[in-house]
């Protein structure tokens, strides 16, 4: 049977097991939409802006582990999606983006809605393709899904000119497997390295596990729990790793880094053996590299060799999948005699007494931390929580103790404001039976507000927790500390009435101005199982995120709430971002 390129494309997506596509139509993809309309295996989610499509597919992928699929038109369609693609790329999220292109003969002629899609996306994708002939459609889709989901995952863009979607050919069998001589993602960790690591682990006196997003994306939570508990080691997790190890567990020291807990950062600073598992020594984690973990030896487990010794030189590098490497370590350490680390634990427990996440309530204002604690209580710690970017993101990470992987969804690498709402929508589509909350702020939410409309159309009930303090809080915090309180452009004036706004989109809006109203409002919101509820919660505008390692500082230089004054000490602060 002869099929056109668009029909072949849709057929391939079905064969890849795609159930949902997030997209927006336009001239160059009309044939693809025509083919999509003629079937009912794949549901198309019509977003209101292509960035929302990319974030939606991203949230979907993070929630259920399946690759997110995006379909956009040429020109502005793909450029609008770029922020979402870059977001997925920074956090290694599997995604396949199909973008329409002007017909092949018009490429390079500055045609209507033409951009060089592969050129523009080159530096923010794992790989991209420009299809040049209809015979390449099936093999390209196969390769795209293979590349996006294997090794270190990431987004792959397929740019497909309109004439190729129109051309016809006999449909060949969709390839079952794909062989690429230049891409071999499956690496088995070296046994020798595993043995060396096990030796170091067994003999260390002040060990710590520092695990990251690689344990979530690599589905290594089970092995991570088993190994950590077997060894009885303290574990700290990055912003991207939260939930892979339960946040409520007694071995968990919470998050580390710029806004990490006192015990996590101090333990890193004093450790003699740091085991990095699927984490990449990001600058938000390490602070000043010269003062980072001065007495530690590093074991670095990562699937991507280029991460190893990029920022911090690894003493024992292990290239491999977190899941397999952790299992190998469990086996290797099974009968090994371990060093007694009870002294190390007493030291850690001393640090814990500092209670670095304590905050002082003030009468008459709602503390943002209280909101997250209450959200945790009302959802019994079981909700999927997405966030936008800024102070609220840090508070959600600090005060909602995630016990499961894929429960916490945020833009960690790129720090994309506007991510939270469409990601929550995507997560709800992926996990319709779960409660989904989007923790956001009045700044971030306004970057992707239009998706409220999509959420009504596709009935994706999400609870929006808007921590409204009238400021771009993280910007304001830095200005307070490092710019002598010159609050340039961080005040959000002329805010909309979020309640009316939510209502006009067909959702429920609840304003919360008093702490006593907070819990009833949250309970009410989660009772509305099939409605999106927008909780506009007025919070303390002067609250700052603590602890904080000022830029250029070491893990032992943390500033604590109520104890330290935050003032700019030297010029290096200004070079920080």
């Amino acid at each position: 049977m002869k099929l056109n390129g668009a029909q072949i494309l849709i057929h391939c997506l079905k064969r890849e097991g795609v159930k949902h596509v997030f997209g927006y139509p336009g001239g160059a993809v009309l044939h693809i939409y025509d083919a999509l309309e003629a079937q009912d295996e794949i549901t198309h989610v019509l977003v209101r802006h292509e960035q929302g499509a990319a974030h939606g597919a991203d949230g979907y992928a993070r929630a259920n582990g399946m690759p997110g699929v995006v379909l956009v038109t040429s020109g502005p369609g793909i450029t609008n999606a770029v922020t979402g693609i870059a977001t997925a790329h920074m956090d290694s999220i599997p995604m396949v983006v199909i973008s329409g292109q002007v017909p092949s003969p018009l490429i390079g002629m500055d045609a209507f809605q033409e951009v060089d899609a592969t050129g523009i996306t080159r530096s923010c994708v794992k790989h991209n393709f420009l299809i040049r002939d209809i015979s390449e459609v099936a093999s390209t889709v196969k390769k795209a899904f293979y590349i996006a989901t294997t090794g270190r995952p990431g987004p792959v863009v397929i740019d497909i000119p309109k004439d190729i979607t129109i051309a016809e050919m006999e449909m060949e069998e969709y390839p079952e497997t794909v062989e690429m001589r230049s891409y071999k993602p499956t690496t088995k960790a070296s046994n020798r390295q595993i043995r060396k690591a096990a030796e170091l682990i067994a003999n260390s006196q002040r060990p710590i596990f520092y695990s990251g997003g690689g344990c979530v994306i690599g589905n290594a939570s089970k092995e991570l729990r088993e190994l950590t508990r077997k060894l009885g080691f303290p574990i700290t997790q990055t912003l991207m790793g939260l939930g892979a190890y339960p946040g409520t567990d007694k071995l968990s020291l919470g998050m580390l880094g710029m806004h990490g807990t006192y015990e996590a950062n101090m333990a890193m600073y004093e450790s003699d053996c740091v085991v990095a598992i699927g984490s990449r020594f990001d600058d938000r984690i390490t602070g000043n590299l010269e003062k980072f973990c001065p007495t530690a030896k590093f074991i670095h487990i990562d699937i991507d060799p280029s991460q190893i010794s990029k920022n911090v030189v690894a003493d024992i590098p292990i290239v491999g999948q977190t899941k397999q490497v952790l299992q190998a370590l469990i086996d290797e350490l099974k009968d090994k005699k371990l060093t007694d680390i009870s002294k190390w634990w007493s030291q850690i427990n001393e640090w814990r007494k500092v209670d670095s996440l304590a905050y002082t309530k003030k009468s008459g204002v709602i503390k943002p931390q209280t909101v997250i604690e209450m959200l945790y209580e009302v959802t019994k710690g079981k909700a999927i929580v997405t966030s936008d970017v800024g102070q609220h993101q840090m508070w959600a990470a600090q005060y909602y103790l995630f016990d499961e992987p894929r429960q916490w969804i945020n833009s960690g690498g790129l720090g994309t404001m506007g991510f939270g709402l469409p990601a929550a929508m995507g997560a709800k589509i992926a996990m319709p039976d779960r409660d989904v909350a989007c923790v956001t702020g009045e700044g971030s939410i306004q970057m992707m507000l239009q998706e409220l409309s999509t959420m009504l159309q596709y009935s994706t009930p999400v609870k929006i927790i808007n921590l409204n303090n009238g400021y771009l809080g993280m910007v304001r915090q830095w200005q307070e500390f490092f710019y002598e309180k010159r609050y340039a452009m961080s005040y959000m004036d002329a805010l909309p009435d979020f309640i009316k706004l939510a209502e006009s989109y067909g959702h429920i809006g609840i304003k919360v101005e008093k702490e006593s109203d907070l819990k009833p409002a949250l309970v009410e919101a989660f009772k509305q199982k099939d409605r999106t509820v927008f909780l506009d919660i007025l919070t303390d505008p002067s609250e700052n995120v603590f602890p904080m390692i000022p830029a250029g500082g070491a893990h032992c230089d943390m500033l604590l709430a109520g104890r330290d004054q935050m003032v700019s000490k030297d010029e290096t602060d200004f070079n920080a971002v």
């Binding site: 592969t118 050129g119 080159r122 530096s123 794992k126 790989h127 991209n128 420009l130 040049r132 590349i147 690429m180 001589r181 230049s182 891409y183 991507d304 060799p305 280029s306 190893i308 010794s309 990029k310 030189v313």
Partner: protein, 159 residues
């Protein structure tokens, strides 16, 4: 330190810009870059001359390996290798100093490939140092135009 990195990659549209883009994106420098098809029509060899510390070089090699189309990356400078560069240079035949052009051509083992009324075009090949030395032998005023290919190289022996 100067490194010659040899990259074998799939001969596909966009592969060259992926490699050159990687260098700008990550702040690695490129002194020269040459590329052409190999004996396998599906593969190209790219030879890149870059400089940096061992750690920078390690990152360059790893990042290149990460590109989907790259089949093999090797640092030629770390092994026995042969390297060559080709230069075409136009020299004024009305030499302003006492250089004997024919003698130089002989010493450097190069060829005069074109002669016009006032200009000799000379083909020089060899290591970069030799090419530089040839140019240094002339008064800059006599050098009219230079076109160099950049370095290409290959490892010695069986592999």
């Amino acid at each position: 330190m100067r490194h010659i990195i040899s990259v074998i990659l799939e001969n596909e549209a966009g592969a060259l810009s992926r490699v050159s883009g990687l260098f700008t994106q990550r702040g690695f420098n490129i002194e020269s870059l040459t590329v052409a098809q190999t004996n396998d029509v599906n593969l190209s060899r790219m030879t890149i001359v870059s400089s940096g510390s061992d750690r920078v070089l390690e990152q360059i090699v790893k990042q290149l390996n990460k590109l989907i189309e790259v089949v093999k990356v090797s640092d030629l400078t770390s092994q026995d290798h042969v390297e060559r560069e080709l230069m075409l240079v136009k020299i004024s035949s009305v030499l302003k100093d006492n250089v004997d052009l024919k003698e130089l051509v002989e010493i450097f083992g190069c060829k005069v490939v074109d002669v016009t009324e006032k200009i000799y075009t000379i083909e020089v090949s060899g290591k970069t140092k030799k090419i530089n030395a040839f140019l240094d032998a002339f008064d800059p005023a006599n050098i009219i135009e230079v076109s160099r290919t950049g370095v290409t190289g290959i490892s010695r022996g069986k592999k």
